[in-house]
Symmetry: C2
Subunit: 299 residues, 2 copies
């Protein structure tokens, strides 16, 4: 949970709510309650944002508030193609000393989503849970591959699903072919691998199976910030709602995650996630069905 | 119909059979016979290659053989990512004076595929057909947008389906968003637009509808040369076989085209296209169904 300042070819915002956990919670809360959040903020994080999350069934017992420090702040500028961005500012602030503590009331959680963070902290959360969750999903990024590859590989052994983008999959596996990369990564621990390709969709690998979900072709991508986290929130939200962690149901979960991400990019920050209704989500999912549905009987 | 010399990260060939019409004919002949070819070659084009095509139901009455000249020759080198390439040599040879003549025996053709060529020659073929084909599909490239945009736009008014890649769609429409690009291009004449995104699949636009077909994630892409033409051949081959030019059937045709293209890239030139059987094609199409098939009842 953090603040972001974002510049895209379509506009600019100075300081809005952001952070992986925020996006994951907004997306997942459409499918499952409660969402039990673990994060850290400073004295500057607005109470009304906390209240907004609480009203959606997000429990904040695991969110530490540090009275004499500021929240994490990130500032970035997207290039014209919206696929690449420059980081302008990273102020760790409270994140510098983050030591996540799992509240007693969170014990027994069946679905665990590890947002992108220092791998040793992700591992610490797993270790604090006395009963191993039914499903552990992990996000990470190239930054940790550069700085903490050993720790990252240790977490990989403990998770069920890894979420990375195509560049990260290649870096982690040292393979150019995504099919070869997937085979290597699945041997590192996760039973399922999701490779996100941004506007080109996402691939799900499991054993010898592969599933492809497209991204919805959008007229305009206004702000891609948080799209990956929103995807993750929709993905695990659907799985937690249905309590079905089969490959077949993960395909559906990826479509749900893609639909949620397609909303996220329509406005700055998590704004669009705060507006959408169940009817909007159902309609968007129906568009995905239309997008990929075809009849092969004729062949 | 031409010769190519190709270098990829996986190997090199000095002079093999190539050309749009060759790839289109090999792919389409799996679905429909006869394929009535119009092209031009020099005195160096091997008789056995002609015989190979004839044995697959490709009629060559419209292929002009120029006794004192050489066939078109292209040489290129692919970069490590296989998505980009440098052209090393382009020897127009016989193509410099090509003036396609539609043989009397081709009159009444119901499905016309215009391979990538000078737009004025594409238009000339359309004009020579006394009965307007049921479906005209056109391929083109950025080269003609740079050099002959007015001629290109004149052909666009006469065709039903345009095939371009994402960069070409952006150049033709002067729009970055592919959704906006599609809307502009559909206003230029074609009723259907296919935007090919290489390893990221293809989009079909028609009125307000959009369909997305993925490319099969391949362990290795050996040589991408001819993949777009092979896609086109599978696409129009399926449509000609089923004689159904509805949006629904075009979706299926795109899956068929994608399956054919996925074979093409497995070996140099059209070699793989000469080997595959109906059983191979059916199996590959089944893989595409698996790749995108999901059950949304749970949501």
């Amino acid at each position: 949970m953090a603040f972001d300042a974002i510049e895209t070819p379509f506009g600019k915002v100075d300081k809005i709510i952001g952070g992986s956990a925020t996006y994951v919670a907004y997306a997942a809360s459409n499918f499952i309650k409660p969402v039990q959040q673990i994060s850290i903020v400073g004295n500057d994080f607005p109470q009304e944002e906390m209240d907004q999350l609480t009203s959606r069934g997000v429990e904040l017992d695991g969110v530490e508030i540090v009275p004499d420090k500021k929240s994490f702040f990130w500032s970035g500028k997207y290039h014209i193609d919206m696929n690449t961005r420059d980081t302008l500012v990273t102020d760790l602030n409270v994140l510098a000393d983050f030591n996540p503590i799992v509240p007693e009331s969170y014990q027994g959680a069946e679905f665990l989503m590890l947002g992108n963070l220092m791998p040793s902290l992700q591992l610490s959360v797993i270790k604090q849970l006395r009963t191993r969750p039914k499903l552990i999903v992990m996000d990470t990024m190239n930054f940790w591959m550069d700085l903490a590859m050993d720790d990252l590989k240790a977490v990989l052994k403990e998770v069920d699903v890894l979420l990375v983008n195509d560049g990260e999959a290649r870096q982690l596996s040292e393979e150019v072919s995504l099919v070869k990369a997937a085979r290597k990564i699945l041997a590192m621990g996760p039973k399922f691998l999701i490779i996100k390709k941004g506007e080109h969709g996402a691939l799900l690998f499991h054993e010898n199976h592969v599933f492809f979900a497209p991204a919805l072709p959008l007229e305009e991508v206004f702000d891609p910030t948080g799209a990956g986290d929103t995807f993750a929130g929709g993905f695990i939200g659907h799985l937690a709602k249905t309590k079905d962690i089969s490959f077949e149901n993960m395909k559906t979960a990826i479509i749900v995650g893609s639909a949620m991400a397609s909303f996220c990019v329509e406005k700055f920050g998590p704004q669009r996630m705060q507006e959408i209704t169940k009817a909007d989500i159902d309609e968007r999912i129906a568009e995905f069905v239309q997008l990929v549905n075809f009849d092969i009987d004729l062949v």
